[in-house]
């Protein structure tokens, strides 16, 4: 009986040793990569982003199969409005081979570690990084070919991402990852998956006011993509900078609505309950409203944009864009 027990324990010991050997002797890790990209690009024009990475392959040559076979994974996180599914092309050059068109993994395919599609799995794993609010999507691409690594197969990988930018002016930090299809997106894996977020990237010469995902905003409107028949939320963050309204919690919205021909069709600038912002704490204030109702315009009249200030209870002290007398501006647009 004792003998049988001993043999079983030895089997477990061998199993553990085997796993340890595999872990320590086969490490085809990716090194951290760098991002090469411009500071800005023009709306509706193609911009190019490059990732420079490398591998570090440590495999025991005496192992039964001293190889590691995998496909390259590349993920990009870009604003949804860029429509990168249609507009992005990913290619790479490496010591193992080049490919001109990596394949976008379709939403119908499940990432095994999370049970989600690859786009959602990447979002769960990497998030939106340093961006303050979300209107981004992760897209994950895979190499067409399988590449076989042996011990000391340390190669460079240079990925090129060409993507037509979206139509809107914006400031955002983009996300990227490099990974191995053999490992999927296991949350605990840090050897085979490397990710990074870019410096600030600006889309210029596009439509609408600049959507700034990066810098804390004195004022913002959410959802970022809204029409006049949505319910929108105005947030005033008095903690971002000292303003003439920093010493009061009694704040009101003063706004003008512009029609399709760019003329003012309605103005609400009163200090009443319907324009008063609610304090959220931490010098942040909020007002939710339905623009069509707030400005009392008929259902068939379209409000194309608004200009607004925040005021105190007297209406005499006003704060606008970048803490100046200029109004904040918001264009109602869906994409």
């Amino acid at each position: 009986m004792k003998m049988k027990y001993l043999i079983e324990n030895i089997r477990y010991l061998y199993l553990l040793l085997g796993i340890a050997v595999v872990i320590f002797l086969i490490q085809c890790g990716l090194n951290a990569f760098t991002i090469e990209m411009p500071d800005s690009g023009n709306a509706n024009e193609v911009a190019v982003f490059k990732l420079h990475g490398s591998t570090e392959s440590v495999i025991d040559n005496s192992a039964p199969d001293p190889t590691y076979s995998t496909r390259l994974l590349v993920g990009i996180m870009v604003p949804k409005s860029w429509n990168a599914r249609q507009n992005a092309v990913l290619s790479f050059k490496s010591g193992k081979g080049d490919e001109a068109n990596m394949v976008l993994i379709p939403d119908s395919e499940v990432e095994p570690a999370s049970g989600l599609n690859w786009s959602n799995a990447a979002k769960r794993r990497f998030g939106i990084g340093p961006n303050l609010f979300d209107d981004f999507e992760w897209l994950v691409y895979r190499s067409n070919n399988v590449y076989v690594f042996r011990n000391d197969d340390d190669i460079n990988i240079d990925v090129t991402i060409s993507c037509k930018l979206g139509p809107e002016n914006m400031i955002a930090k983009l996300g990227f990852f490099l990974g191995s299809s053999k490992e999927n997106l296991r949350p605990e894996d840090t050897d085979y998956t490397k990710f990074a977020f870019s410096d600030q990237f600006e889309v210029k010469n596009g439509t609408g006011e600049v959507i700034d995902f990066v810098n804390p905003q004195l004022s913002k409107i959410e959802p970022v993509k809204s029409l006049d028949n949505d319910i929108v939320t105005f947030t005033f963050d008095s903690g971002v900078t000292h303003t003439a309204l920093s010493n009061t919690d009694d704040l009101y919205l003063c706004a003008k609505a512009y029609g399709e021909n760019n003329t003012v069709i309605s103005e609400v600038c009163e200090q009443t309950a319907r324009t008063r912002l609610s304090a959220l704490g931490g010098k942040r204030y909020r007002l939710d409203l339905w623009p069509k109702g707030f400005f009392d315009v008929p259902s068939d009249v379209i409000i194309s944009r608004i200009e607004y200030h925040y005021t105190d209870v007297t209406g005499n002290i006003k704060v606008g864009f970048a803490n100046t007398a200029d109004p904040f501006k918001f264009t109602f647009i869906c994409r």
Binding site: K80, P223, K225, S226, L227, D228, N229, D230, I231, S278, R286, D288, L289, W290, K292, G293, S299, C334
Partner: protein, 145 residues
């Protein structure tokens, strides 16, 4: 002998119980009831992209009334699927998943329809996008009268 009597008794009891269950199942009515929405409904919950807004907006005056003659009327205005009165119908009276609202002189607006019982009370849940299609609103109503 005594054991045989008991065995017989158990078999008889088991058979009767089985037959009784069979009758019970056969008597169960399997027809789904018609979904009755006529009446006046008020909003108890409103979410935008999953974020609850009901406590942040004045929804107290908004009502939708479905009349037996197939017309509906709105009281007060909100970001809703329709802006004025018109006609309504469920896509299926027994298993509806869509409520079709047709505002006078305008195109029909199908909205997602659910009819759950929440905390013992029947609710009518309507889901739609009155502005950008990326923004989804779910209104939950309870019947007022």
């Amino acid at each position: 002998m005594k054991r045989r009597i008991f065995t017989f008794f158990y078999l008889l009891f088991g058979t009767l119980a089985f037959v009784a269950c069979e009758d019970e199942l056969a008597a169960t009515i399997t027809d789904e009831s018609l979904k009755e929405v006529t009446g006046t409904w008020k909003v108890v919950s409103l979410t935008r992209n999953g974020e609850e807004l009901a406590q942040r907006l004045d929804l107290s005056r908004f009502r939708i009334t479905f009349n037996p003659d197939g017309t509906y009327a709105l009281q007060d205005k909100l970001a809703f699927a329709v802006a004025g009165p018109g006609t309504y119908k469920l896509n299926d009276p027994q298993y509806p998943y869509s409520l079709i609202l047709t505002e006078q002189t305008k195109e029909a607006q199908p909205v997602k329809f659910q009819f759950p019982v929440i905390e013992g009370k029947r609710q009518m849940s309507l889901t739609f996008s009155p502005g950008c299609s990326s923004n989804t609103y779910q209104y939950n109503f309870v019947k007022e009268k």
